[in-house]
Amino acid sequence: MAVVTLNVNGQDVAVPAGASLLEATRAAAADVPTLCHLDGLNPVSSCRLCLVEVEGSNKLLPACSTAAAEGMVVHTHTPRLREYRRMAVELFFAEGNHVCAVCVANTHCELQDMAVTVGMDHSRFPYQYPQRSVDASHPQFTLDHNRCILCTRCVRVCDEIEGAHVWDIGSRGGQCHIVAGLDEPWGQVQACTSCGKCVEVCPTGALFRNTDTTAEKQPDASLPALLRSARDQHRWHNQ
């Protein structure tokens, strides 16, 4: 097996050729935070939390979608990166309408956890209070755009794992939002199989089961990795 050797935070690590920088940082036990990344789904580097410094590069690189290369010298937790990560999380909170205390995902929310990880004790950016809607047209699930951080995990799991491609991103810039089907009410999209994978992988309370109320959502984001290993390697978690 071809390997590449690189240096992460002063530690030499060897990873299989084709591995991502994120996998290399994991091999070095460098805990690089991620929100949009999910094992089992293709990376999109939309959240920018996994940005790392690579010597010789004049820009920061997203670890999830950058290939590890021979001889790279990577820094994952410089003061600049820590500050940028905290700013990014503050911007997530300021950009949407995130009220942890009354959220279905309270205590099981990756954004809430990430605020702790990056040391966010308040937002230095004023809250935007955007006007967003709630799609409760599906008989089993609800999409609350107020809590969406546009990680696109739902888009990817539906396309790459379920093969239904119900979700997409509509509009541009600050108006970007998740759309179902051809920007229809979710409950009217016939392609939806009601499998619930999008709900399981959603890092916040944006997608949830109608039966869950405040702090009751308990998602299982390990689903895509499990299904992918089952399909690609015929390896099931109970074997």
Partner: protein, 192 residues
Amino acid sequence: MTPSPPAAKLRLATVWLAGCSGCHMSFLDLDEFLFDLAEKVDVVFSPVGTDVKIYPENVDIALVEGAVANVDNLELALQVRERTALVISFGDCAVTANVPGLRNLLDGGHDGAKAVLERGYLELADATGQLPFAPGIVPELLPRVLPLHEVIPVDLYLPGCPPSAERIREAITPLLAGERPVMEGPAMLRFG
């Protein structure tokens, strides 16, 4: 040999702006620690500890619960800043505007006060409904509910809805010894 005079006690205030008082209830959940606290501080202003109506001068530490939602909240917040050495944003409403801030979503985010008043006092009222108007008596709502730090400089943030009694104790114990608490990790920082 005469005992040395007791060291001057710190002057502690707790303030209740636009919040549900849950942070103060959590403060009272400190239980027997409140006895230890009482030996080290004089509570000079607090809805749960004194009957003082005017915020005093020369306060050392203030725990400020709640967002800034009306003109009374604003006036008191400014007094707190002027008369207090260390202001703590106490709980999610003070830190983020939290649930009181949800009215900022109404009326396109421009004047949530007008929208919420009309809903509460006119649309849901019987034929005799009217908007409250009593200048100087009923404080007027600000157009937008603000976190405390958007109104005055804040020295320490103590998030949580409410912050647990343990978190409050871990935050104020170092302050009593003149040190800053380390606000890191899920025990000290988590919102909600």
